[in-house]
Amino acid sequence: MIEFILFYFAVLFAIGIYSSRKSKDPEDYFLAGRNFGPLVLFFTLAATNFSAFTFLGFAGKAYTDGLGQYGVMALGTSFMAIMFYVIGRKVWKMGKEHGYITPGEIMEGRHESRALRHIFNGVMVLFTIPYLAIQAIGAGFILNIMFPQISVKAGAILIMVAITLYVISGGMKAAGWTDVFQGGIMILAMILAFLFIAHSLGGVEKASITSYETMPSLFSRPGPNGYFTIQMYLSFFLLWIFADPMFPQIFSRFYTAKSEKSLKVAMYLYPLLISFFFLLPVIIGIWAHGAAVSVDNPDSVLLLMVKEYAPPAIFSLTMVGALAALMSTADSQLLSLSTILTCDILGKRVNYSRIITAVLASFAIVFVVLGYDPKAGIMGTLVKTTFPGLVVLSPSILATLYWSRANKWGCIASILSGEAIVFLSSRISLPTFGFLPAMIALLVSSVVLVMVSILTFKK
């Protein structure tokens, strides 16, 4: 076990050090010199988006609510790949033409409003910190299962320190190249875990049938607890399409493409990977019912299944795979957030970005120590915080890229009204008609954008 972990970290730090030698200027550090080819861009987009939520949260949610989890995740995320064309292509072009580095610079460039840029970037930073902390929590779980003497919180802090070190040394190049390595481990580990668990349970068919006999409702929607209603299904479908490109770690990847070919390849390989990669943790979570595994925390069900039904070597590899999934997301989040804060407040200086990276990692640790509610689970925490907060940015960026009458007042009003709904829905019960509150926020921010832009339009 320890050999796997040491080898994994050795490779990460080696890539970090190698990348630092290859970085010559701020654009190299922040955006890898805008030089990611098709496969690197594909792997870095996938590894960045597939997080602790994918590796641990999917299995946990499937354990409690059934196979509907595959539908709500796979469909919306696959359709989201079209945003690599709708948003990614334009962002890439504008970034190359104007030298933009942060997402908000596009807003400022089009609307000539620094306030709008700060609001846009500020929302991204604010709502990504809980997501970053979730990665740390996931790491804490994994280390705690591997080494019970390390508490969840201590493990979370250790991993955040490790991530900070290699991000500080190598910037975007380190994040991108480690994503290729980590993405490979993550995919291999998940496939092997699935195959070995299936073998131990008497084959895939027997494993599913045993679970079906134990709890048939796992295999239909709305699932055992009635969670996957039609409104929820539609909500998540739209949420992934509009929220995922607003993750700063995804948005900033659009700038890093070497050419449009990189974006094209990423776009069509993305759903292909999702088709099976999202199914595997979901089905393992469901099989846990047939296997009668005792689960205290649903988010640990995948690791418990692997520990129980796969050889020790596969268990170790799966642990490293899970670490890879969350670290590849956390490093990109740290880098993109520190890039935004540095470029917006202090200017495009690499050394300042390194300091900001360390400060942000500290914030994430504080969230872990003080603010995380383990009863909410990974998905519950993100659905309440990050996803609704970021989805309201999508109308203003789409209007900025495609609608000539959109203006700064419309965009500012859209973002503020959407966030007001997000805030209100976290405090009081708003009428949502069975949809996620994030959908109401998306609707309100879209309507406000159109109305205010029209009312304040000047020829």
């Binding site: 539908g71 796979a74 790949a81 039609i230 479908f237 776009m267 759903p271 088709s275």
Partner: protein, 62 residues
């Protein structure tokens, strides 16, 4: 361009398979029918996007 959006809209409509709610059968291999439908929709999207990247996504002049 419009034909590509039409294709995407059809795929989205098929994705919202409300008629399969409350159903877990027929079971094919180790999954219910509707889960295979999702699996093949995602594979189909990959193929559609690949064709779109070749024919509909113009690198210049747009």
């Amino acid at each position: 361009m419009n034909k590509w959006w039409a294709v995407l809209a059809v795929m989205a409509l098929i994705s919202m398979d409300f008629w399969n709610w409350e159903k877990s059968e027929p079971f094919i291999f180790f999954l219910p029918y509707w889960a295979w439908q999702i699996f093949f929709i995602t594979i189909s999207l990959s193929i559609i996007f690949a064709i779109f990247a070749k024919q509909g996504w113009r690198d210049k002049n747009d």
